[in-house]
Symmetry: C2
Amino acid sequence: MTQRRRPTIHEVARVAGVSISSVSRALNGNTSNADMVARVNAAVREVGYVPSVVAQSLKTRHTGQIAFAMEDIGNAAYLEMVRRIQPTLRDEGYRLLLHSTGADVEDELGVLASLSQNYVDGLILCPLRVTDRHVEALRQTAVPVVVIGLLPDDVPVDNVRADSRVGARLAVEHLAEAGARRIAFIDGPLDTVPGRARYDGFRSGLAAAGLPEDDDLVRFTDFQFDAGRRAARELLTGHPDVDAVLGANDLIAMGVLHALRDLGRDVPGDVRVVGMDDTPLAATSFPPLSSVSLGSADRGRIAAELLLRRLDGDDAPPERVTVPPSLNVRESSR
Amino acid sequence: MTQRRRPTIHEVARVAGVSISSVSRALNGNTSNADMVARVNAAVREVGYVPSVVAQSLKTRHTGQIAFAMEDIGNAAYLEMVRRIQPTLRDEGYRLLLHSTGADVEDELGVLASLSQNYVDGLILCPLRVTDRHVEALRQTAVPVVVIGLLPDDVPVDNVRADSRVGARLAVEHLAEAGARRIAFIDGPLDTVPGRARYDGFRSGLAAAGLPEDDDLVRFTDFQFDAGRRAARELLTGHPDVDAVLGANDLIAMGVLHALRDLGRDVPGDVRVVGMDDTPLAATSFPPLSSVSLGSADRGRIAAELLLRRLDGDDAPPERVTVPPSLNVRESSR
DNA sequence: TTGAAAGCGTTACCAT
DNA sequence: ATGGTAACGCTTTCAA
């Protein structure tokens, strides 16, 4: 690994027999003399010159980099976002930096603070939860930020959100239409933003369908497979009349499917099941799982587009975009 | 978004009443005078100074950034790698840049070439396939590179690999031990590196188990759910005596499970099934899918560690690490 | 159109 | 130990 020093713009200038300013201009398309351009390009090839983006950044004050910060890239929703964010940014010449904060709020605030180091031109942030310190930090970031997730109305930052409340309601209405009368709900923790919203949506769905609320048919657990399975088994054992179950995410719903199988109940014959997030799990499960898509991919794309607009100099007031949920009906509720 | 100019080291120096060199030294721990350090820190706080990493990079010639390039972060194996690479790098103060090349070899070579721009200190690369141009590019990269995947022996680059050949053999031996005699194999394309290696492993597993080869029990298709399902249905219909199926990855194996269900065959009673890669799909499928882990997470971690060692100045000869596969037996083959 | 020169915000050398 | 100053590699005025 002999670290031979890379050629600089000076070498190119010397070889081409012109000044460094001319090289810079030729390379950046700021010259009209075709002859000059040709000479410079020849010299560039000869010495194998590649501009230093670091030096360019120092001078131009932008880095061509954008950061995406979320809890854990292993989460299917965030993964879908990244998959759309990356090409959207790359098409505009930006590189993507990944910050997994690992459920650490301090780390998340650290990312916000580190923006002052100016190593990126912008940030897409999925906060775990929005504390006062978040709000304060968001009010005075060094670079534009787009937040994916819920945000207080008075925080002047571009914002893209899902509507998991409406999403849960969609699912309940669908189940009711299909004939379900005793619909159970396995939720995540009630003190999380999605847990709360989905619970509210569940209740509003019942109301819309003219079905009574029954707290016995609701469980709060973790957004995980095993938790969902345990909760479902317990609930279904105690309430054999349940004819449909909504899982607050696909993992929980997968747990529900397993619990039903353990109990010898047929899906969707005896019990219909719907999940949320519409992850890849849904399509390959047995039976294929109906699931509410919260539009993760769209949210990612839209966030990237909003950010690109800001970086383009757009200084319109902050935007708030809500991506509507949609229900993907598969066999588990058909 | 009033872009107030950020304070520089000069402001700090002025406020502290010292020279910029002293500020730099104090901040980087290159001064012993406690008084100076205190004054500088006070000034830093007063003006809200944060060093510019870009200027630092220009001067110090390293960026604190490392890139990870692969085909598609949506692929479970790569995802597992990222999840371990990120924290490993972050603990050493490096930021992670993500390049999804989207199965585009040109794009992959572009990443390699772009290293000369020196926007990163190193690269972890998972090549789709290693062409002559790859080899040439890898011989003279601007920064250290670690390759995850197969690599010709004479390419002087740190290399971490899985052993999917041995992995496939493990699976076959396990199935044979469990009593299977007619073992089918649904592979990916034979002209891909993993497709080839897994096929070889499958055959060597048969040989080790003293089972005859039967080309009729092998299909080459795509590494996808639907492809696996179709191929399995066709194969199993024509060969009802098959008593075990190895899928070349978990998606294919999931397809096999579905095909078997379509045909009314019990798993594992009538037919045992094993997948490869041991993705999250395996644990939540029904029945839970036995799968060969190729150690993606470990490969990611090891690659990151190798790279960090290089960046630390280690100039030992390139290393070649092979991560052994392991079989995770679940109900589908028990 | 071209070249000289002044930064961009640091670090590190060299005197003091 | 501290301060002045020269880089680092580029872009962009400003004159010619």
